[in-house]
Subunit: 118 residues, 2 copies
């Protein structure tokens, strides 16, 4: 398992914080590699802006670009969302575990009170 | 199921794109509610900066703050990471599905070639 750095997670989450970039990723997850112009088509923004978004996604390692002749094709980088998913799930797991500990503590306290009041 | 807006996801992912904010969330996921000063203690940054980070986390709905007398306690907002997890997992699911479709397509093509060359 690759150990992803904090700086890498910074870039991934920052890349995901924009609705156009999320839409680009969603689209790429649903199709085979697309040329930049085909990818840009449904978005009502300038090609230059799309390219900037692609730079951010590529810097975060979420997409790959490959040049075939004069056409650049873009595809999603498989498994690249996993570090983000794992980080999020780890928090939720710890959170559930600490809730469990709280519940055990509350139960033990209640039992003691019941025993005392008997 | 609540339908989270794009703007909400923007805020969640932006909140997660900073290492101090992720560390604050990690710490809160592992403990019971903490006072702001107890929470700030392990971080080598000014209390004012911690407060700013807490504002960002609260705006994204990831933490809750409650005032008891003169002390503000902070806790993680249970389940608030779920929209982000769901969004990420949806992309991975579609990606796997489109890989499956590609495999079926490639297999069918190969079979045809084999049949033709027989």
């Amino acid at each position: 398992m690759v150990n992803y750095s904090e700086a890498h997670l910074d870039r991934v989450f920052a890349a995901l914080s924009d609705p156009t970039r999320r839409a680009v990723l969603s689209r790429l997850a649903r199709t085979r590699p697309l040329s930049v112009s085909a990818l840009a088509e449904p978005f009502d923004i300038r090609l230059h802006t799309v390219m900037k978004h692609l730079d951010v996604l590529a810097d975060a390692g979420l997409i790959r670009r490959a040049k075939t002749g004069r056409t650049v094709h873009v595809e999603i980088a498989r498994g690249s969302l996993q570090p983000a998913v794992r980080w999020l799930q780890r928090q939720e797991r710890f959170w559930s575990a600490s809730l469990d500990r709280l519940a055990v503590y509350a139960e033990a306290k209640e039992r003691k009170t019941r025993e005392r009041d008997r």
